[in-house]
Subunit: 427 residues, 4 copies
C-alpha cells in the first residue's frame, strides 16, 4: 500500500493549529536562550535512519514466534513497508538489506521502486551465521574465522556476492556481523580464530569498490556463549585498522556487557576516526532488540550527545555514519514499533542539539560538575516533541506518525492485501 500526500494532509489537519502553537512557543523560548531553531529543524529534517529489511515482520525468540497479520511476503513488499514508514515519518529514507534473505531478483525494478518511495539503499548485511543452500562446508564451527579453509572461502565468497548485490542497488557499505565464536572453553584457539578472521576480512576488503566502506560489528556473546571472535570494540578496531582506511567499527547498542559505558566507546572511536555505523535498539539484559528509547532513553541522549559533538569535530576522518534501527519485536506491530523507535531517536537527537557545548566546555574546564550535569539535563528535560512535529511538517510527513498509522488503518489494509497467516522472509 502507498501513503499519499493527501492521506498525510488529512490526518495532519486536525493537529495543525495545536502543533504550530506549541512549536512557536518552544521556538521562542529556545531562541531567547540563543538556539538556532531553524538550523536544528533542518538537521532533524535531514536526518535519515535505515530500516533493516528483517524488521518488518514479527520477530521471535528461541522459544517461538507469534506471527502478525499482513507481514511482507517479498522484498518488494518490504520496500513498500519502508515507504509507508518514510511517508509517515520523513526520516526512514533508507533500507538495509540482508542477504540471502532479500536477494533482489530484479535490481533495476527494485531501484526504481525505491526511487519512487524516496528510499535509498544503505549498507548491505551479509549472513554467515546460518548455512546457505548449496553450501559445501558448514558454518556451524565458524565462517570467516573457521579453521576449515573451505568454510572461510565460502564465507568470503558470500560477502563478495553481497557486495555485488549492494552495488547493483547503490549501497556504499558492507556491514559484517561475524557471529563466529565458541560455546565451550578450549573449543577455539583465540589467536588462530583472530588471524583467520583478519585474513578473511582483508580478502573481502581488497575487493571492496573504491567508494565503499566496510563496517565491522562486535558483540560479546550470542549465538555462542563462551567467546566471540570479535568480542568488543577493541578487537573490531584492530581488525579494521588491519584492513585499511575504509574499514570501520560499527556499534550496536545491544552488543555490550552489562553496565558498559557505550557513549565513551562512541567518543573513542570518533576520536580515532573509525566509527562507521550505528545500530539502534534498546535493552535491559542482553541483545534484547527492544524499541529504541523504551528502556534507557537517557543513555540514548548521552550517546547522541557524543555523536553530535563528534560530527561537529570530525578531525580524524570518520565516514558518514550508517544509521540503522536493529530492533526486533514480538509483542508489537513491527511498523508501529519502528515508528516509536524513530520517534525516540529523533527526540534524543533534538535534545542533543540543544546542548550548549561552549558552556559545557567551560563548566568542564572549571570542574563545576553540578553545572555540567545541569547543562545536559536541562537539554534532556526539554520537551522537544514540537520540534519534531514542525520538522515533519516541513518534510511533508505526519505530525504524529503513530496516530496517523492507526487513523489510516494501515495494518488492516496490509492484512486485507496480504492475508492473516503470512510470515516475513528471514528469521
Amino acid at each position: 500500500m502507498k501513503i499519499t500526500s493527501e492521506n498525510i494532509q488529512t490526518v495532519n489537519q486536525k493537529r495543525l493549529t495545536d502543533a504550530a502553537a506549541k512549536h512557536d512557543a518552544l521556538a521562542a523560548d529556545l531562541e531567547l536562550a540563543g538556539k538556532d531553531v531553524a538550523g536544528i529543524l533542518q538537521k532533524l529534517t535531514d536526518y535519515q535512519v535505515a530500516i533493516p529489511s528483517w524488521a518488518l515482520g514479527a520477530g521471535g525468540t528461541r522459544f517461538g514466534r507469534f506471527s502478525m497479520g499482513g507481514e511482507p511476503r517479498s522484498l518488494e513488499e518490504k520496500l513498500d513497508d519502508v515507504g509507508v514508514l518514510h511517508a509517515l515519518t520523513g526520516s526512514a529514507g533508507a533500507v538495509s538489506l540482508h542477504i540471502p534473505w532479500d536477494i533482489p531478483t530484479d535490481p533495476a525494478g527494485i531501484r526504481e521502486q525505491a526511487d519512487l518511495l524516496g528510499v535509498k539503499f544503505d549498507a548491505v548485511n551479509s549472513n554467515t551465521f546460518q548455512d546457505h543452500d548449496g553450501q559445501q562446508s558448514t558454518y556451524k564451527y565458524g565462517s570467516l574465522s573457521s579453521n576449515q579453509k573451505l568454510a572461510r572461502d565460502e564465507a568470503i565468497a558470500h560477502n563478495l556476492e553481497v557486495i555485488k548485490y549492494g552495488d547493483q542497488l547503490g549501497s556504499k557499505a558492507l556491514t559484517i556481523w561475524l557471529a563466529d565464536g565458541a560455546s565451550f572453553p578450549g573449543q577455539a584457539n583465540f589467536r588462530k580464530s583472530f588471524k583467520n578472521t583478519q585474513h578473511s576480512l582483508a580478502e573481502i576488503y581488497d575487493q571492496l569498490p573504491v567508494d565503499w566502506n566496510m563496517l565491522i560489528e562486535y558483540k560479546p556473546y550470542e549465538p555462542y556463549f563462551y567467546s566471540t571472535v570479535i568480542q568488543d570494540w577493541g578487537t573490531s578496531l584492530m581488525l579494521a585498522e588491519g584492513c585499511g582506511e575504509r574499514a570501520h567499527t560499527l556499534v550496536d547498542l545491544g552488543h555490550h556487557l552489562p553496565n558498559t559505558n557505550i557513549e565513551q566507546i562512541v567518543a573513542t572511536l570518533l576520536m580515532r576516526g573509525r566509527l562507521g555505523g550505528f545500530h539502534f535498539n534498546d535493552s535491559k539484559y542482553g541483545d534484547d532488540d527492544l524499541t529504541c528509547g523504551s528502556i534507557k532513553p537517557y543513555q540514548l541522549f548521552l550517546i547522541f550527545n557524543e555523536l553530535v559533538y563528534g560530527m561537529n569535530n570530525n578531525t580524524s576522518g570518520n565516514p558518514e555514519l550508517a544509521w540503522m534501527i536493529d530492533a526486533s519485536h514480538n509483542v508489537k506491530d513491527p511498523l508501529e514499533d519502528l515508528i516509536q523507535s524513530l520517534e525516540a531517536i529523533l527526540i534524543a537527537y533534538a535534545q542533543a542539539l540543544l546542548v550548549d557545548h561552549q558552556q559545557l566546555a567551560q563548566a568542564q574546564e572549571e570542574n563545576d560538575v553540578a553545572l555540567c550535569q545541569e547543562i545536559l539535563q536541562s537539554a534532556y528535560r526539554t520537551d522537544v516533541r514540537p520540534l519534531l512535529w514542525k520538522s515533519r511538517l516541513m518534510a511533508g510527513a505526519a505530525i504524529d506518525p503513530l496516530a496517523a498509522y492507526r487513523e489510516l488503518k494501515i495494518r488492516e489494509t496490509l492484512i486485507n492485501d496480504r492475508g492473516v497467516n503470512v510470515s516475513a522472509t528471514g528469521l
Copy 2:
C-alpha cells in the same frame, strides 16, 4: 546559616514572570487533557524527603576522600544544613539520623532547632558495620547474625539505644541496614546466619514502641563480597514477616544486582503490604550512591509510577513510606548534590502523577503494547519543571533552588563560618 524568606523572595524576583507564564501554559495544556493540576501541585508541595545526616559532608571511596570546605562539624550544624535545603526546596522537611555518628546530646534543644526549621525526624539508622567505642565483642564477623552471642547481644542493645534516641526526637521508625555477610565460600553457615538474624530482629521488634515501624534493608554485596545475610527483597520479606505486622522491607535503589527490575519489586512489596521505606540514589555499576536521576531517570520515573499506583491502591496495609535520599558524593558540593537529587525526585513524581491510569489499564486489558508505552512516555516526555516552580512558590521556597544556592553564596558563607579544613563526622 539560615535562609530567610527575604532571601528567597530576592532570588525568586527575577524568575517570577517567566515561571508563572510557563506554568500557566503547561497547566492549561494539562487541564485540557483532563489533569487535575491543582491536585498535582498539592501533592508535590506535600511531598517531603528525608536528608540523611551523613550526606552533608563530602563522601569518599575506599581509595580516599577529598574534603569540601564548610562541612558541618556537629549535629546542630548538620541540622542547619538540612534547614538550608528545606528553605530552598520546600521538600527537605525531614532528617534521618545515623547513630553513633550523630548522637543527640541535647535532645530537647535539637528538637526545638528542628521545629524552627520545619524539619521532622524521620527513621533513625543503626550501625553495626563498625565497632563502637567501648564495645566488648567485634562486628568483624557479623553483628545481629553473628555466631557469637556477645556480638549479637551488643548489636541488639545498640539498636535499642538507637530507638531510644529516635524516640526522644519524635522518630517513628528504625531502619536496619545489616551489613553482615561473608567474603569467602564456607565462611558462614547460611542457615545459622539467617536464624540468628531472625532471632535478633525479633528481640528488637519486641521492644519497638507501638507506633513505630521497623524497616529492614537488603543488599546483595558490599562490604562483604561473597554473600550478604539479607541479600535480596525475598530474604528481607521473610524476616519482616517473621517479626510482625510493623516490620517492613526498605528498598535502596543501589542495592540490586545488574539489570534487576526494581519497579517490579516495588510493586510486589506494595501488593504484599510490606513496603516500608525507600532510599533514593542512582548508580551505573553497584551501590554507587550517585545523585538521583543522574544515570537512569526513566527507571526513577517507572518506580514512581509504581509508587503512585501502589499508594492509590493501598489495600494491603503498607505504612506511610519513609522516603530518604541515600547518596554520597565526592566531586560535587554535597548540598548542591542534594538539591539536584530532590529536583530529579520531584520531576519523576510529577511525571508519574501525569500518567492516566485508567487509560493505561484499558490499553493493558487490550494488550495494546505500543499504546501502553505511549501513555508512559508521553507523561515522561512532558517538561514538568514549571509544576515544580509553582509548587515551590506555593511553599515559599525558591523557584530554582540550585541557582538560589549559588546566588546566595551559601557555600562561601559556610566556609567562612566553619573553615576550609573541616570534615563532617561519620564516614
Copy 3:
C-alpha cells in the same frame, strides 16, 4: 539401539586394572582421613538425574540451528537414547517429558519400554510459551497470568492435561516454567499479573493428585525482556506458599541475574522447606544452557555442598528433589554433552560428600575464615574421578562413559538407523 552388559564389559575390560588401583589408593587416603568411602560410593550409585526429552536433539538459538545426524524421531526413540545414557553412566535413570512435544500415544507401551531400560518418569513439564494446535486464545500476551480469561483457562486446562499424561506414566510432579512477562514498561500491571498467576496456579494445585508435587520455576528474563511474572525465588516462594504444602520452588542454575549467589538461595529454600527441584546447566552470560560444570565448576560444587548439607538436615519438610539436566547444545553431540554433564554433576556431588561438616562448623564457630576455605577447597581439589569409576562399576555401567560411547560407535549406529537429516521433535 540398546547397550548390552556385554558391550559394557568389553569397553571396561582394558580400564579395570588402572581404575581399581587408582580407586584403592584414593580410598585408602580418604579412609585414613576418616571418610566413609563405602557410604560415599553408595550415595553416588544411588544418585539419579532426569534427562529431559528435549535435550536429545541438537539445540538451537534464535539465529538458527545446525542439525546433528541420528536425532530421535519419536518419544520411543528419545526413551531409547535415555536408555543408552543410563546404561553407560548408571545415573540417568529418569526422563522428564515435555508436553505437547512428547505426548505418549501408548502410555502402557512407553511405561513398559522404560521399565526395561530401568528408567523412571520424573516431573512432567507443561508448555504455555507457544500456542498449541486447536487453541482458541493466544499465549502471546501471557498464559496463566493473562488478562484474558480464555487464555488463563486454556493454560490451566493444558497443565491439567499434562498431569494426566504424567499420571499414566508414573510421574509424581508437575514442573511449571511460566514464561509470561512483558517486553516493555507499561505493558503489564505487575499486581494483576501476579494475582492472575496465583489464581491459576491454585486451580491447578487443587487438582494435583495427592502424592504429587508442583514445582514452580523462576527466571529473570527471556523470552520477554522487560519483566517476567515469576522473576525470582522470592516470587516463586510467595506463589508456592499461596498454593499449599506440596507446591515448591524449582531452581534452574541459568535463571539468575549476573553474579547472583545461587548457593545461598538453595540454602534459604532448603531452610524454608520449599526446595522442590533443580535444573542443572552452566552459563557465562544468561540462560546459556551449556554443559554442566563447563564454565563454573566451583559454583556447582558450592551448590552441592548446600544440597548435601540441606538433605542431611532436612528438618522443614523438603520433598525428595527432582534433579534434571536442562542443557541445550548446538556444537556437541547431545548425548556426549549429557554424558559430560552427568560426569560434572557427579564429580561435584562426590567432592561435596568429602566436606567435613563437623570440622567446618567448628571453623565457622571460631571465625577461622582461612580454615573454612581450606576445608572446602581441600575437598574440591581432590581428584574424585576414581570414586566415580568404582561407583559405575558397582552399577554395571561404563568406567569411562564418554570413551565407551565413542568406542561403541553409538552415534554412527544412530545415524545408520535414523538417517542424517532428521530433527528431534520440540524446539
Copy 4:
C-alpha cells in the same frame, strides 16, 4: 621475624613421607601419560609472584576497617613479611612497592635486606588517586588526564619520582593504575581526557630508563562511577602503542565488567605483543580483591592456559611478565591470605602445564568440541598438589605453607614484636 631453614625442616619433617609417596604416584601416572614431570617441577620452582607492599596489613572497605594485630609498621617490616612468605612458599621472591606509601629512606639498606631474604623488587606503583603532602594542585578531578596543567605536571613529576625510587632498588618497570574518571555524565570530555592522558604518559615514557617497561592498567569503574579514562584493554592498548615499544597493558583480574571473557583478552594482548603484567585476585561482583582462586578457580586455570600457551608462542615480543597478587582482605590474616593466593596460583599454573597443546590443537582442528573440553578438564581435575609439595621441597620451602605458618606461630610472634594495635601504612 625470620624463618630459618631449620624452622622449615621441623615443620616439613612429619609430612615428608606422605608427600613423597603421593608425588611419586602422581609423577608415575603423569609420565605414563607422556608428561615431562621434571620440567614441570622446574617451572613451578622458578615461578615467582610479587607481593605488593600494601597487602601485608588488613584491608578495608569504604565502610570501615578491622585491624589485625602485628601489622608491619615500616617498609622494613613489610619486607620482613615478604621474607616470611618467601621462606614458606618459595614463590614470593619479589615485592612491588607503592609510592608514596613506601618511600625507601635508605635504599641501599633496603636492597641489602631484600638480597638476604632472596626477594627482588618488581614493578613500582605510582599513586595519583590521592593528594600528596605538599601538592599544589588536587587530583580530585583527575591527574594525568586533568584539564589543569598543574595537576598533570605534578602527576607526571610524581611518576618520574617513583621511577627514581624504583631504579635505586633494581626495579625494571613502572605500573600506572590511573584512577582518573568521572562520576557524572557531562563531567568530563572523553576526548580531551584521553589526549591529556596520552601526552602525560608520553612524557613519562620519554624518561623511562632504557631497560624499563611501562605497564598501563585499565579498569571500568571505581573510584569514579560513571566513566574511567582507561576503561578497558582497548583503551590501554591504544595508549601503550601511542607511547612506544616498551609500553604494555597490565591486566588485573578484578578490573572487568560482569561476565567478561578475560582469557580471550589475555590471548589477544599476547598475540599483539603487548601484555606486560598481571595482577592476581578473585571477585564475584566487582573489584572485590579476594583471595586468588577463592571464587572462580576454573577461570584462573583458563587464564593460565592462555598464559602458558602465549609464553610458549611468544612471537610478537611480549616482555617478561610482571606477576603480582593484588588482593586485599579484611576477614583473614593477610599473610595467610597471601599464602592461599600463592597456592591457588601455583595450582592453576601446574594444571595448565598439564594441558596437552598438541592434542588440543588437533581436537580444535577437527572441531571435536567435547574432546577439547575433556582435554582441558582432565588437566584441571587432576589433583596437582603433590607437584607443589615436591617443588617447594626442591626450593627449600615448606610442604604445606599454611600449616607451617600456624605451627610456627608466626602471627603470634608478630603481635608480640609489633603490638596488637598497629596499622600498616597505606590504605
